[in-house]
């Protein structure tokens, strides 16, 4: 029972995530929205990937530029295993395919980690960058394993399911992704509470101290890297099941950058930050990219803004409210937040308008597209929309500065109160 009480948040999240796709359910046709399900499956896979990245980044202070290598190689391993199962060479339930990916990631994490974890800090980052390029290049050279440009394709519909499910529909795949995402997240969460996980934190904080309490920091890094490879590989295995293809994109630097973006935007400090960051990044990538040519720019700007103004990430920002929440004064912040909202929206609007106007005069024009808002075509050559954009941006910025000052005062006062209250109790 106490297990239930302690983990109610996880169960709640699971319930919400199971129910969520029904918001997009087409009741007339009686089927799920394939787009929504694939998007959510992608979030699930990328969340595992980002969490495993954070085992290095947040937990062990190791900035890797090649984490996708472990994800991608896990995916390739899983793809080959599926094809072997299909061919009848080996037997493995569909549900355990991600585990095959995980073992692949574990193996490559062990091998590549031996090299990468000889160093820490910048040297580690450079080695992982090199390994990423190395594997990307190898992916186009070793046809047998990587399948060249075309990659390896699979058919996920096997007759080996333990549950009698054939995984023909995105809904069934989504459920499998969800199950594995929860298993992987729970295991990674537990890993932070083990001696190895704790010593990874310790070696991150002060590797020399770690040595003088009896630990070999290099061994700690290596084991942490290997385990991160295992979880990244599970993500890779799920990726194969969703898309039924794995190409060298999965080991690319761009894929590695995705994990880094998600972790920075979500926050590396806590455990759940990367999940939050993943949701934002995937939505921008898969949602906004349908609407705008400039989606990558939005991701980039968001990343820069977060690194500059909120290095603790979204989860960290939420965490900052904890003392005020504990003091029961959170509602005193509602009004200041509401007051900051209009100028913030104005800035956003002005910025988006400016970016889109630019993008439509260049890429858009080349593609023969027209910039339309609510069905009305906007003339990108007329000065009016540009003027509006600049005005909104400028006025919004001035307005936000004023509100921000008021917000700051309110915030500091509340923090002060909260501190006193905590001290008194």
């Amino acid at each position: 029972m106490s297990l239930l009480r302690r983990n109610w948040l996880w169960l709640l999240a699971l319930g919400v995530l199971l129910a969520f796709p029904f918001l997009f359910y087409d009741w007339a046709k009686g089927r799920h929205s394939g787009f929504a399900l694939t998007l959510m499956s992608e979030i699930g896979v990328m969340a595992i990937f980002a969490l495993s990245f954070n085992m290095l980044m947040g937990q062990a202070g190791l900035l890797s530029f090649g984490h996708a290598v472990l994800f991608g190689l896990g995916a390739y391993c899983a793809a080959h295993v599926v094809n072997l199962v299909k061919a009848g060479t080996i037997w493995l339930p569909t549900e355990l395919v991600p585990l095959a990916g995980g073992l692949g990631g574990l193996f490559f994490g062990f091998v590549l980690g031996w090299l990468a974890t000889k160093q820490r800090g910048t040297a580690f980052a450079m080695i992982t960058l090199g390994l990423g390029e190395l594997v990307s290049a190898a992916a186009l050279m070793f046809m047998g394993f990587f399948g060249g440009e075309g990659g390896i394709t699979i058919d996920r519909v096997m007759d080996t399911s333990l549950l009698g499910v054939r995984y023909t529909s995105p809904w069934q795949v989504y459920c499998l992704v969800l199950a594995w995402a929860f298993i992987a997240a729970a295991l990674m969460r537990l890993q932070t509470q083990t001696p190895l996980g704790r010593m990874a934190n310790a070696a991150r904080d002060n590797f020399e101290r770690a040595q003088f309490v009896g630990y070999d920091p290099r061994r700690v890094r290596w084991m942490q890297f290997t385990l991160a490879g295992f979880f990244a590989g599970i993500g890779g295995g799920l990726y194969v099941l969703i898309y039924e293809i794995v190409t060298f994109d999965t080991v690319s630097a761009a894929k590695s950058a995705n994990a880094l973006l998600a972790v920075y935007i979500g926050g590396a400090g806590g455990f759940f930050g990367p999940i939050l960051g993943t949701i934002v990044v995937v939505l921008l990538q898969s949602g906004v990219s349908l609407l705008s040519n400039a989606w990558l720019l939005y991701v980039g700007v968001l990343f820069i803004v977060m690194v500059m103004y909120a290095p603790v990430g979204l989860a960290g920002l939420i965490g900052l409210h904890a003392p005020i929440w504990r003091a029961g004064r959170l509602r005193d912040l509602v009004l200041p937040y509401l007051r900051a909202l209009p100028p913030a929206l104005m800035i956003l609007l002005g910025f988006v308008l400016l970016v889109e106007l630019t993008s439509f005069t260049t890429i858009g024009a080349a593609q023969g597209k027209h910039f339309a808002i609510a069905g009305r075509t906007i003339d990108t050559t007329s000065p009016l929309p540009w003027g509006i954009a600049v005005a909104a941006l400028g006025a919004g910025a001035l307005w936000l500065r004023r509100e921000a000052r008021a917000f700051r005062l309110r915030w500091d006062a509340l923090m002060e109160d909260a501190k006193k209250q905590a001290g008194a109790s």
């Binding site: 537990l190 890993q191 509470q193 083990t194 001696p195 190895l196 996980g197 704790r198 010593m199 934190n201 310790a202 991150r204 904080d205 002060n206 020399e208 101290r209 770690a210 040595q211 003088f212 309490v213 009896g214 630990y215 070999d216 061994r219 700690v220 084991m223 385990l227």
Partner: protein, 250 residues
């Protein structure tokens, strides 16, 4: 009597062309409280770094608990039963005070690199860490990130991390440096308590601490031992007076 806890034979250390430690011979008996004193730049901290394996020695031999430390990395020397603190506070700033102590305990309690034990469930281990916190008078700081402690508290925590693993040889590098008078007194009491029945070696500048705690004192000047004797004998030693103590005591 068994082999000395630490034995140095003709230990030398050079950085580039400069010889910092110039042929040190020193035996530290088991159970002794031993202070190393000397003017700034005499090589006291370097000597600690050599004994604890932070730097390799250029020549000579060092044995810890009867075993040669040649070629051993710091963690393996630590596993021989030698633990040290640092002149500049060295803790795990982002971990809580409790976690800091627990990290000091982990290896000696056999957890090694385990990723299958959940620390929350290790009752004996956690109780042990809490007992040590009590002793360090850091109980009410238990769940604070160690980086937020006051300087004196961080120094106490560092001593805690150093002794947590139960090493029988403890090296403390200027444990009371930068402390107020009352903080120093508290630190001395703490050190006296935790070094009970163990071998203690410390570098210290505060002569009241040195003469109050040490059973034996070694005077290091320009990388050489000019005297190693009881406090009373050191006080009366003319060479020491001239080289070092005289400048303070005069």
């Amino acid at each position: 009597m068994s082999a000395p806890a630490i034995e140095l034979r003709d230990v030398r250390k050079s950085f580039g062309a400069t010889e910092i430690i110039r042929g040190v011979n020193l035996g530290i008996a088991r159970g002794e409280r031993h202070a190393v004193i000397g003017p700034n730049g005499a090589g006291k901290t370097t000597l600690f770094n050599l004994i604890s394996g932070r730097f390799p020695i250029s020549s000579g031999t060092i044995t810890v608990n009867g075993k040669s430390t040649a070629g051993l990395p710091p963690q393996e020397i630590n596993r021989l039963g030698l633990s040290r603190s640092f002149q500049i506070t060295s803790i795990f700033p982002r971990l809580t005070v409790f976690e800091n102590i627990r990290c000091g305990l982990l290896w000696s309690r056999g957890y090694r690199y385990s990723f299958w034990h959940l620390l929350g469930g290790q009752k004996t281990l956690n109780a042990e860490a809490d007992r040590l916190l009590e002793r360090l008078k850091l109980r009410d700081r238990r769940d604070l990130p160690a980086g937020l402690l006051s300087y004196a508290e961080q120094r106490a925590l560092e001593i805690g991390i150093t002794i947590a693993g139960g090493a029988d040889i403890i090296l403390l590098d200027e444990p009371t440096a930068g402390m107020s008078h009352s903080e120093t007194e508290a630190a001395v009491e703490l050190i006296r308590g935790v070094s009970e029945g163990k071998t203690l070696v410390m570098v210290e500048h505060d002569m009241s601490v040195v003469f109050g705690l040490a059973d034996r004192i070694t005077v290091l000047v320009y990388g050489e031992v000019i005297a190693s004797d009881t406090p009373a004998a050191i006080r009366g030693n003319a060479a020491v007076q001239e080289a070092y103590l005289g400048t303070i005591a005069a």
